[in-house]
């Protein structure tokens, strides 16, 4: 779109004139509309959007295109309760979820998800069960919401298959002793997509994210994980490979709010062509979250001279008895390694892809899936 870039205020004005969607009428959209009315949508130069031109996403929001031929496709075993978000039962589950999982004012574009919500599911994994995986294959609207409640001592795997959206909100609470393994598969996309994953991990519970991404025309992932109960555990892994002019912006925040929590973040990315990859990783340790143990490690490969990588760890620590470490590197493909492979008869392109695969592997726990998606060859 030519002409003036669309800013938050003018988008808000246009959307408010159209009004919210009518999907899931039980949902209280007041907080979302208030925020939009208060002109709280990010402006073009907002710090959190330094590396992603939010105006391009706003254009997609305003254009409001929906694909016509979609349906809800969610696969789940019998023990798991899955209801459409429009179902009044979803309202009950939202109450069962407990306190807010993230602060809307800290994630203002999630207000657009509330206002424009068009499809979603609420998922409850009953206490003590260990069902087979729940698979989100596709949801039939541009604005989507997935709510997951993992009850005490239940264990489950949630898989987000590649599918497109303008905004997807995934909220999860992992109740005491529960375990959630969350796989996100993001295929190459010509679209502009933002998503927010917000997770609350209660005492002795474990949340594990395994995110594999190719790039989009614009792809932004906000991830907020809160260790809310004693000895909670969070493991975040992300691997990506970008080509051409693809874009991927990961903004990750881990909040240690309770004592004795452990968090591990491992990110590996490769940027080729004229792509741009961003990883902002933030660790916040609240006063009182003593004996927290947090690490963040991100390594990036620049596979071309014209790709751009931004990797920034940020720490905010308000407790004194904690272990915390972080590291971020950006480097090129090791040509000595490529030469070593070549002297064994392996041609240069194969040598490079072997090297890249090895590089990404530290952040990949399922090589077969990563290969199928095309993150590795």
């Amino acid at each position: 779109m030519a002409g003036l870039a669309l800013n938050g205020a003018s988008l808000a004005e246009k959307l408010l004139a159209r009004g919210p969607t009518s999907y899931a009428p039980w949902l209280d959209r007041r907080p979302h509309l208030d925020l939009i009315e208060q002109r709280a949508l990010p402006e073009l130069r907002a710090e959190a959007w330094r590396h992603t031109n939010i105006a391009r996403w706003y254009e997609t929001v305003l254009a409001g295109t929906e694909r016509a031929t979609r349906s809800r496709r969610v696969e789940f075993p019998g023990e798991v309760e899955v209801v459409d978000f429009a179902d009044p039962r979803a309202a009950e589950l939202l109450v069962l979820r407990g306190e807010e999982i993230f602060r809307l004012d800290a994630q203002p574009i999630a207000a657009l998800n509330g206002m424009l919500l068009g499809s979603g599911v609420a998922i409850r994994v009953p206490a003590g069960t260990v069902p087979s995986p729940v698979r989100i294959v596709d949801l039939p609207a541009a604005y989507q919401r997935i709510l997951v409640i993992v009850e005490p001592d239940a264990r489950v795997e949630l898989i987000e298959e590649p599918s497109s959206y303008t905004h997807r909100l995934v909220e999860a609470v992992v109740q005491p002793g529960g375990r959630l393994l969350h796989r996100r598969l993001q295929a190459a996309s010509p679209d502009r997509e933002c998503s927010l994953v917000a997770v609350r991990v209660q005492a002795n519970a474990h949340y594990e994210l395994s995110q594999l991404s190719l790039g989009g025309d614009l792809r932004r992932n906000d991830i907020v994980a809160t260790l809310a109960g004693n000895a909670a555990n969070v493991t975040l892994r992300g691997a990506w490979r970008l080509v051409e002019s693809q874009h991927l912006d990961n903004q990750v925040a881990v909040h240690h709010d309770a004592p004795g929590g452990t968090s591990r973040q491992t990110f590996r990315g490769v940027a080729d062509g004229r792509s741009r990859a961003v990883l902002n990783g933030r660790i916040e340790i609240a006063p009182g979250a003593q004996q927290s143990d947090a690490t963040l490690n991100t390594k990036n490969l620049l596979a071309s001279d014209t790709a751009e990588v931004y990797a920034k760890p940020e720490l905010e620590i308000y407790a004194n008895d904690v272990k915390c470490s972080h590291g971020a590197t950006i480097g090129a493909i090791d040509e000595d390694a490529v030469h070593y492979f070549r002297t064994r008869g392996i041609d240069a392109p194969t040598a490079r892809s072997l090297f890249v695969r090895g590089f990404l592997r530290e952040a990949i726990d399922d090589v077969e899936t990563a290969r199928r998606l095309g993150v590795i060859q």
């Binding site: 000595d336 070593y340 492979f341 002297t343 008869g345 041609d347 072997l354 090895g358 590089f359």
Partner: protein, 248 residues
């Protein structure tokens, strides 16, 4: 026809002359030792044979079985039977030794116009070679040279040689940093490899290895040239007298 024929080889790095006219002929079935002071150009020679980028051959040529390989890419030379055991093997975390070896073996099979071996056959072959070098099979699952001790890295180079079965193996100080037992193991590996159809060029500083792997010829490299050649007694003499007497 010689297996390897190097003529008048002049090599520069960044415009700086390093090899100043090397002539060397190696026949099938032979072992040649190349000795010489630090910085004399031994590794440069070995690397140039293997096709390392950044080393400019400004004059001369290298032939393998009569074919001029001077302009060939490293992988092409490997497929024609050239093998270099690196003085400093590269660490590549994340790529397992096994997948690296399999990729190499597959490339060689395809180069010969054959189907790659099955995974089972390959693993059996790799395990056998590893046990011959007294390497624990777990070793094959680890990242390439990742965290290997100096001696393990050297043995890993020999492992690759045994699996790829090159025509000409150039071993750059594979004996350096080995303890006495490991030296024996590596020497046994080299001797098992030796045959009428292949040849070995050993770059070494020490006579010790040559007690186990007896060379047919010994050459002394100094200032980028072979300044002296002889039989195995030359190595003994060098051990006693150093390089000074050669005017090197």
């Amino acid at each position: 026809m010689s297996l390897l024929r190097v003529e008048e080889l002049h090599v520069e790095v960044d415009g700086k002359p390093i090899l100043a006219g090397i002539d060397l002929e190696v026949d099938a079935g032979e072992v040649h030792a190349v000795m010489g002071p630090n910085g004399s150009g031994k590794s440069t020679f070995a690397n140039v044979l293997a096709g390392r980028p950044g080393y400019d051959v400004v004059r001369g040529s290298m032939r393998v079985d009569g074919e001029d390989v001077t302009e060939l890419a490293p992988e092409e030379r490997s497929l024609r039977g050239l093998f270099l055991a690196f003085q400093y093997p590269i660490e590549i975390p994340g790529v397992s030794n096994m997948e690296f070896l399999k990729a190499a073996v597959d490339a060689h099979a395809l180069g010969r116009g054959e189907d790659p071996p099955s995974a089972i056959d390959f693993v059996r072959h790799a395990r056998e070679a590893a046990s011959r070098l007294e390497l624990n099979p777990d070793f094959l699952k680890r990242g390439v040279n990742d965290g290997f001790s100096g001696g393990e890295k050297k043995r890993n180079e020999i492992l690759q040689m045994l699996i790829l079965e090159p025509r000409l193996a150039v071993l750059d100080e594979t004996d350096s940093g080995l303890d006495i037992d490991a030296l024996q193991v590596v020497a046994n590996g080299i001797n098992a490899f030796r045959g009428d159809g292949n040849a070995v060029v050993l770059v070494t500083h020490y006579q010790r290895l040559l007690n186990y792997v007896v060379p047919d010829h010994v050459h002394v490299l100094a200032d980028g040239r072979i300044v002296h050649s002889g039989d195995r007694s030359l190595a003994l003499e060098l051990e006693e007298r150093g390089y000074g007497w050669l005017g090197a």
